[in-house]
C-alpha cells in the first residue's frame, strides 16, 4: 500500500458515515423534536409514517460510525468515548426511547400519549447529546499517554451547550423541510412556517458557533484566517451565503423538494467547516489520524469490504426510499 495514505482514506470514510448519519437520522430526530408542535393524532400518524420504513436504516449509519471508529482508529475511540461518557449514555438512552416509540405507539391506545412523549423527549435528548459531544470534541480533550485523563464532567461548557442547542435547531429544520416535502395541505403549510423560523435560528446558530470556534484554540484561528489557508477556507462562508439565499427563495416560492435538499447543503457546508477546523486531528490538539490509526492490515482488510459494500448499501437504501416515495397523507400510510 505504498503511496496510499490509508489513515486519510479512513478518516474520510468515517467522516462520510457520520455525515450520512447526520443527514439521514437528522430529519428523523428533527421530526421528534417538532412532535410537540403537532398535537393532533392525525398529524402525528402522518409524521411517524413518513419515516417508519427508513428510520432503522438511517440509524445504522451511527453504528457504522462508532464501529468503524473502533476498527479503524481504536485509540481515538478509546479516548473519545470515556471523555464523552455522559453525553454518549444520554444519547443511547434517548435513542432507546425514540426507537421503541415507532412501534409501541401503534400497539396501545391508552398509553399512546406516553410513547409520543418518549418519541419527542428521546429525539431531543439524543440530538442535544450529539451536539454537546461535538462541542466537547472541538474544545479539546485531556489526554495522557493512550487514555483519557479528564473527569466525567469535562464535556460541560458554555461552548458545548451552544453546539448542542445549534444541532437541535439544525435537526428541527431538517425535520420541517422533510415534512414540506412529504406531506400536503395544512400540515405542509405549518411546516413551511416552521421552516422560516428555524432557518433564521439556524443561521444565528451557525454564526454563533463559527464566531466562538476560533477562540477555542490558536490552531483553529490559524487554520481559517491566515494566508494561504484563507484562499481555501473563504469559499465556505461564501457558499453558506449562496445556499441560504437559494433556501430563502425556495421557501418563498413554496417549492416541495428544494428546501430539504438545500438544508442538506447547509449541513454539508457546516460539516466541511468542522473538517477544516479539525484536520488532521481526530482528537483535537492531541491525537492525529496517523497516531490513532489501526495497524495497516486492519485498515486494508476493511477497505475491501467498504469499497464493495458501501455502494451496494447506498443502492438498496435508495431503492427503499424509492419504494416509499411521494407524499404521505391521512388516509393511507402512503399513496
Amino acid at each position: 500500500m505504498i503511496g496510499i495514505d490509508l489513515p486519510v482514506i479512513w478518516a474520510f470514510i468515517i467522516a462520510f458515515a457520520v455525515f450520512v448519519y447526520v443527514v439521514m437520522d437528522g430529519f428523523d430526530l428533527g421530526l421528534g423534536i417538532l412532535f410537540p408542535l403537532f398535537p393532533e393524532k392525525r398529524d402525528r400518524d402522518v409524521i411517524m409514517n413518513s419515516v417508519a420504513p427508513v428510520w432503522d436504516g438511517n440509524e445504522t449509519w451511527l453504528v457504522l460510525g462508532g464501529g468503524g471508529l473502533m476498527a479503524a482508529f481504536p485509540l481515538a475511540y478509546a479516548i473519545l468515548m470515556p471523555a464523552l461518557y455522559t453525553p454518549m449514555i444520554a444519547m443511547l438512552l434517548g435513542l432507546v426511547f425514540r426507537g421503541v416509540a415507532f412501534e409501541f405507539r401503534w400497539r396501545t391506545t391508552k398509553e399512546r400519549n406516553k410513547w409520543d412523549i418518549a418519541f419527542a423527549g428521546g429525539s431531543l435528548l439524543a440530538t442535544l447529546a450529539q451536539g454537546i459531544a461535538l462541542g466537547a470534541i472541538l474544545q479539546g480533550i485531556n489526554v495522557s499517554g493512550r487514555t483519557y485523563a479528564g473527569g466525567w464532567w469535562d464535556w460541560l461548557t458554555p461552548f458545548s451547550i451552544l453546539t448542542g442547542v445549534a444541532l437541535v435547531i439544525g435537526y428541527a429544520l431538517l425535520g420541517a423541510t422533510w415534512l414540506v416535502m412529504k406531506t400536503e395541505g395544512e400540515l405542509r403549510d405549518r411546516a413551511y412556517r416552521l421552516s422560516w423560523i428555524l432557518l433564521m435560528a439556524m443561521l444565528g446558530a451557525i454564526g454563533a458557533v463559527s464566531a466562538a470556534t476560533p477562540f477555542l484554540s490558536l490552531q483553529y484561528t490559524q487554520r481559517w484566517f491566515t494566508f494561504p489557508n484563507i484562499v481555501l477556507t473563504a469559499p465556505v462562508p461564501v457558499a453558506v451565503a449562496a445556499v441560504t439565499a437559494l433556501l430563502l427563495r425556495s421557501l418563498a416560492n413554496k417549492y416541495d423538494y428544494q428546501p430539504f435538499f438545500l438544508t442538506l447543503a447547509l449541513f454539508a457546508l457546516s460539516y466541511a467547516g468542522l473538517g477544516i477546523s479539525m484536520y488532521p486531528y481526530i482528537v483535537p490538539q492531541s491525537v492525529t489520524i496517523w497516531q490513532a490509526a489501526a495497524p495497516e492490515n486492519s485498515q486494508v482488510f476493511m477497505l475491501f469490504g467498504v469499497a464493495v459494500l458501501i455502494p451496494l448499501i447506498l443502492g438498496y437504501t435508495a431503492w427503499a426510499y424509492w419504494v416509499f416515495r411521494g407524499k404521505v397523507n391521512h388516509e393511507s400510510g402512503y399513496h
Binding site: A52, A78, M88, V96, A294, P295, S298, E331, G333
Partner: protein, 469 residues
Amino acid sequence: MFEGWDAVVLARAQFAFTMSFHIIFPAFSIGLASYLAVLEALWLWTGREVFINLFNYWLKIFAVAFGMGVVSGIVMSYQFGTNWSAFSDKVGPVIGPLMAYEVLTAFFLEAGFLGVMLFGLKRVGPKLHFMATLMVAIGTLISAFWILSANSWMQTPTGHAVNADGQFIAVDWLKVIFNPSFPYRLVHMVLAAYLTTALVVGAVGAYHLLRDRHLAGARVMFSMAMWMATLVAPIQIIAGDQHGLNTLEHQPVKIMAMEGHFTSHKDGAPLILFGWPNQAAGRMDYAVEVPKLGSMILKHSPDAPMAGLDTVPRENWPPVPVTFWSFRIMVGMGLLMLALGAFSLLMRIQGKLYDSRLLHLFAVAMAPSGFIAVLAGWITTETGRQPFTVYGLLRTVDSASPLAAPAVASSLIAFIIVYFAVFTAGVIYLLRLMAAPPHPGEEGPRSDVPARAAGITPAAGVAAEGAAR
C-alpha cells in the same frame, strides 16, 4: 455514594445487564425472520390463505421485537468504548473489523429491507416482497456469523500478534475469523435461536388450541413448531456436546468450572450432577455424583485422568458457582425441550397433536425455556472464560475505561430504570399481540391506519376473500 465501589465490577454488571436484555431479542428475531421467510414462501408456493395470515400475525410481533433488538444493540456497540476503552484500544484492530463487517454485511441489509418487509407488500408486489423478507432473514444470520466470530476469537484467540503499542493485530484474518471455537459456537447459537423461536411459536399455538382446537392458524403454527422441537432439540444436544469437547480442548479451565471439578482425578472423574461449589475452600459441598461418568462423557473412557482447578493458579479461576449452575440450568432446559419434542411426536403419531391438553399445557409452560437456556448458556461461556476478556492474554481488570465508580454506577442505574420501563412495556405489547388469536384476513403492522386494509395485491385480495367468509 458509590465511592467505595469498584468501577470494574460496576462496568461488568452494566455489560452483563445490557447484554442479557439485548440477547433475548436477537435470539428471537433470528429464528422469527427465518420462520417468516418460510411462511411467505409457503404462501407463494401453495397460495393457502392460512400462511399469509400467519405471516402477518407474526410480522407484527417481529416488528416490535426487532425494534427492541435494534435499540438495545446500539447500546452494545458504543459500550465497548464508554466502559471498556482499554480493551477497545488493544483489541479494536482485531475484533473492530469483524464488527464493522457485521454492520456492513448484516445490519444495513436487515434495516434496508425491513421497511419494505413491514410496510411494502402492496407497493412492490409479493415476489419482491418475499425477496425483502429473505434479505432480512439472511441479514440476521450474517449478523450472527460476525458477532460470534468476534466473541469466539476472544475465547480462543488465533492468527494474531501484539505490536509495540500493546495492541493485538491480525496476522492471518482467516485464522482470526475461523478460530477454533467459532464453528461450534455459531451452530450452537443459531440452533438455539431457532429453538427459542419455535418454542414461542409452539406456546402461542398451544395457547390458542387450548381455547379452540379447530383454529386453523393455531393448528398450523403448533404443528410446525413441534416439528422443530422434535427434530432440532436432539440435534442441539449433540451440537452442545461437540461444543463442550471443543471447549475441553481449548479452554479446559472453563470445563473444570462447568463440571465443578475442583480436584484432579487420576483414574476417572465423576459426573457431578448437583452440588454447592465452595469457591473459597476450593471444594464441592453436598455433591451428588456418578463415578467415572465425567471421564466417560468428556474423554470417552471411564478411567481417563482429568485435571481439576487444583492445577490452576487461584487468580485464574472463573467464578465456579455461577458457571456450574448456569450450565445445569441450560442443560435442564435442553432436556425439557427434548421431552416436549418426543411427547409431541408421540401425540402426532397417535393423531392427537391438536387434542392433547396435556401437550398444549406443556408447550405453553415451555414458552420461556428457550430464552432461559440462551441466557444460561451465555452466562456459562462468558463467566467460564473469566478472569480474561481475551482468553489467557488480556485480563478483565486491564480492559476497563479509566472511569470513576460514580460515573459507571450512575449510568448502570439509568440503564436499569430505562430498560425495565421500556422493555416491560414492550413485552406486554408482545404478549398482547400473542394473546389475540390468528384469524382470516390478518393484517400486517399499522392495521389501525384505515386505508392499509385495502389494496390491489394478491395478499389483500386473499385477505379480503378470507374476511368475506
